[in-house]
Structure formats: C-alpha cells, structure tokens
Symmetry: C2
Amino acid sequence: MTLLSYDEFIMETSTALDGLTSFYKLLSNRSRLAIVLELRSGEANVAELCHRTGLSQTLVSHQLAALRNADILRVRRAGKHTYYQLADEHITTIVGYALEHLGEREV
Amino acid sequence: MTLLSYDEFIMETSTALDGLTSFYKLLSNRSRLAIVLELRSGEANVAELCHRTGLSQTLVSHQLAALRNADILRVRRAGKHTYYQLADEHITTIVGYALEHLGEREV
DNA sequence: TTGACACATGACACTATTATCATATGATGA
DNA sequence: TCATCATATGATAATAGTGTCATGTGTCAA
C-alpha cells in the first residue's frame, strides 16, 4: 500500500479509469468479443476463428489487429498460418467471471 | 448441465454473447464507468455524483438513464433528491475483479 | 401559488466505430 | 518464377455514440 499525493492519486485513478474504459471498449463489440470468447479455449488461426465465429476473414483480421494493438493477444506465425492466443490468463478470467456473474443476475 | 439442441445452443451462446456485449458496451464509456465506480462505495444522488466525477448534471443524468435502462441501477426517490445505487453486488464484483486483474497485467 | 432547487429529457452537432470492398503482402509448393 | 493460399491493410459509407444546450417536470418552502 503506497501513500499517494493528491496529484498522484488523481493520476492513478484517472489512468485506472482510462485503462478500464479502453479495456471494456475493446470487449464491447460483438465480433471482437466472439473472438475473445473463442480464444478462451486456446490457440486458433484466422481461418479457424472465421469458421467458429461465422465472421468474414477481413473482419476477423481487423478485430485481431485491434486486440493485438491492445496487447491482449499473443501471435505465433507458422508457415502460411498465424495463430493467436490470449496474452495471459487474466483476460480469460475477467471475461469468464463476467459471463458467470451476468448469468446469475435476474436480468 | 442441460443438453441443448444445436439451435438452442446457438440461441444460448448468441444471447450470452449479446448480453455480454451490451454489458461491456455499457461500461465502455468513461463517464458511465466513472459513475459506476463511484457507486461501488454505495448510494449517491445526482449532485453527489456530479461533484465526485466532475461531470455535468446533464451528462450524469443521461448516463444514469442508460444504466437504468440496462437494469444496472436501483433508484430511490427522497424529496427533491434521487438516490442511485448498483442493482446488485454482481456489478461491483465484476468491475472490481476486472480492475484488480488489469492491474496485474504488465500492460 | 410562486420561485427555486434537483433532476430528467429532447434535439442536435460532432466524432468514433462498424463492417465491407478492394487490394496488398508474405509464405509455400509446383 | 508463378500461382495460390492465408492473412493483413487501406479506404469508405453507414451507423452509433458522445456531450451539450435548451427546456421540461416534480418537489419543497415561503
């Protein structure tokens, strides 16, 4: 637990807010979220993701680029194929948790 | 564990995907998220939220309306004031969890 | 009842996001 | 080298989301 000055506090909370906003923004698109959900079960290449999500190759590539730019993905190239996986288990956990808790709400 | 037909499965996953997308979309706006984060520490009225978030009254009201429409808020009217709180602990948990795990990422 | 306060709502201009089409790149095998 | 496969990228039209101004509604106190 670090003691922060007011300015540092404002900075901290502001960047946490911004960070969280960007993170949620990333997941707030159906196509992108579908890809992330698919990747929870492990690595997949673009064609596989297209097939599983029903999205076009172009769209999948675009969304993968967005996820990549946010450092949410790990990329592995193998010949003609490019394999993607979630960068770390935190993403999987966060999303899984949300999914679980949302299910429990009486919405 | 229920056994679903293909169509039911598609329905289920599709609505879960849609639900999660809408949920994330709701949190993907800085102002709205700031309000939600504030409300984690309990009930607050509009003026209080304006003060704490630094947002205009109009904007806060608009965002509260959005959150209300998504059944994320509980409303209590008391005289001239309107008090808002998060509808259930799931929201708090989901957001807190994301905040915590995002902090642990080396982004 | 009137004025002031607390909040809500509608309309709007501005900006951002979305998915698509067309095309580029890069690797592989013939 | 060339054709082809797998994927990436740029441009663009359509749509959605953002915050603000103006104004409406309901409550209370005088």
